[in-house]
Amino acid sequence: MHATLKPEASTSSADPVLRVDNLKAYYQMNYFGVSREVRAVDDITLTIRRNEIYGIAGESSSGKSSLIKTIAGAIRPPLRVVSGSVRFDFDGRTLDVYNDPEAMKAARWRHLSYVMQGSMNVLNPVRRVKHAFHDFAFRHMGLSPSAFRARVEAHLERIGLDPQVLESYPHQLSGGMRQRLAIGLATVCEPEFIIADEPTTALDVLVQQDVLALIKDVQMRLGSSIIFVTHDMTVHAAIADRIGIIYAGRLVEEGPSQAMFEQPQHPYTAHLIASLPRIGDTTRRVSLPGKPPNLADPPSGCRFHPRCPLAIAKCETESPPLVPRGEGRVACWRAGEVAAA
């Protein structure tokens, strides 16, 4: 095993680069009298350390995407931050995403970059790719135009892209190339922190493998922290140092990936892992009963209880707190019993 690929998290440093405290972000909608409040991010606290890949997992509309958008400061009405804070620590300076907009704007791309889902649409379709690099990165680099160009080309080569792509229009590139380009764009300034929203979803298996390797490569080289979202547990298994499981807007379990796959603490996590098919195994997989909760009207108590095989009376009334357990944290009244089940 290669030394740098140890699954153990955060060996290099333990100081947090991102602190999310009691973050609540709700969709507050009012359409012609239909008022709805969707608690997409409901009281989430987490920290991400330097040089760490933190994966966020959960099913669709669990709020994982809203969480990452809120962290990135990429929210638009009707999604609003209700309370809590998102703070980054760059160069010893603390930046509150929602209190220092100017400083945040200056820090973007230099310290903090973003890889979006659907790389198809993130690049301006009517301009050549090189303009995107110029617009996003030029002012941070302090280089002459030609030196900048050289730097960008070198960077692209390093991630396995022909610098010729700079002269292309986005739609001329394949999905895999675009996704690689998006990662190239996000890393050209060598930021400390990268936010990635479903970076490999909708990619073919071979390309996905390639892109994951690229992300890992870049991360190791730059020593950046990455927070990324995907519903695909196998992707988390492949590159996340730690994983946070979101269910119905809440963080229900968090822990080092190895430990989580070996011994999930929350019944939902356990189910997610158990339902994964694997080649060579045709034993019948059971699926989770019931349907995902409606965030506009979530279940009482533990939000997972209607679908939980271990649910007891207490789960219906009392919401379990997220408490440390083992190497991570878990929010479940019967956390100890999951592994046994």
Binding site: M1, H2, L5, P7, E59, S60, E157, R158, G160, G175, D204, V205, L206, V207, Q208, Q209, D210, L212, A213, L214, K216, D217, H231, D232, M233, T234, V235, A237, A238, I239, S257, Q258, F261, H271, L272, I273, S275, L276, P277, R278, I279, G280, D281, T282, R284, R285, V286, S287, L288, K291, P292
Partner: protein
């Protein structure tokens, strides 16, 4: 043995490219296989994007016409079915399941309308009660009931539920063949297995043959009877699913097989690590 579906050296090419540089893309090349009418099975087509698997599905459904070869369904040339009456008769026997359940249902149309329309058009039912009974019966097959669906819109249900409703709708005319194009790729992992399990039930209990089109080798392995692996329009490998997927013989199939990330951090990391090593080696080589 009578053939339910027979593809005989089927090919399909498109003009592609932009305004000034057009060329022909051979999306499917010389594809042949036969499904037996007497023995229902799950026949899987595995391939990445651009492999031609979706084009194949569209040709089988009659949405596209092969540029070469013939597709016969119960002996009839699919491409020759033109009149609305014949189309309806054909559609009663061959039904699709689409990739994205949120896309497959118009968000502004209630879900039950699809069920009712199918029942009315293919079963010739007229009264409200008959139609609802048919819809309910089909929903029961997928573990739902009309009460849960009536008057609902697609956004009110989860992807897994929608996909099951899509299956139920396809079942209403008692089709012989269901063509499912990437039916689980947009469904959450936790719900994916419920759909896949459903296909098994359909095959075993209702005797429906299913063409399952996917890029996901693990679910393909999980439910398929037979499989073909396509790459850039060509069939790379074909045969019994367990044999082909468990132990692929062609390079491409093997690469595909090896790219599947296992749900195990140690093993998964090893795959990424190996890929990374190759990348670095390639870059170093290029650098020197």
């Amino acid at each position: 043995m009578s053939a339910l579906l027979q593809l005989d050296h089927v090919g399909r090419s498109y003009p592609v490219g932009g305004f000034f540089a057009r060329r022909q893309l051979q999306a499917v090349k010389d594809l042949s296989f036969t499904l037996n009418a007497d023995r229902p099975e799950i026949f899987t087509i595995v391939g990445e994007s651009g492999s031609g698997k979706t084009t194949t599905a569209r040709m089988i459904l009659g949405n596209e016409v092969p540029t070469s070869g013939v597709i016969r369904f119960l002996g009839q040339d699919v491409a020759a079915i033109r009149s609305r009456k014949d189309r309806l008769a054909f559609m009663a026997k061959v039904q699709p399941i689409f990739q994205n359940p949120f896309e497959a249902f118009n968000p502004l149309t209630t879900l039950d309308f699809y069920l009712y329309s199918t029942a009315r058009r293919f079963l010739g039912l007229r009264t409200r009660a008959e139609i609802e009974a048919a819809a309910d019966k089909a929903l029961q097959h997928v573990g739902l009931s009309l009460v849960e669906v009536r008057g609902r819109y697609s956004h009110e249900l989860s992807g897994g539920q929608l996909q099951r409703i899509a299956v139920a709708r396809a079942l209403i005319p008692s089709p012989k063949l269901i063509v499912a194009d990437e039916p689980v790729s947009m469904v959450d992992a936790s719900l994916r297995m419920s759909i896949v399990n459903l296909f098994r039930t359909l095959r075993d209990d209702l005797g429906v043959t299913i063409i399952y089109i996917t890029h996901d080798l693990s679910t393909a392995y999980y439910i398929s009877d037979r499989v073909i692996i396509m790459h850039k329009g060509d069939v790379i490998e074909a045969g019994d699913a367990r044999a082909v997927l468990g132990n692929p013989s062609e390079d491409y199939s093997r690469a595909l097989r090896n790219a599947v990330l296992p749900p195990d951090p140690v093993a998964a990391r090893r795959i990424i690590e190996a890929r990374l090593e190759r990348r670095r080696a390639a870059l170093t080589e290029a650098g020197t």
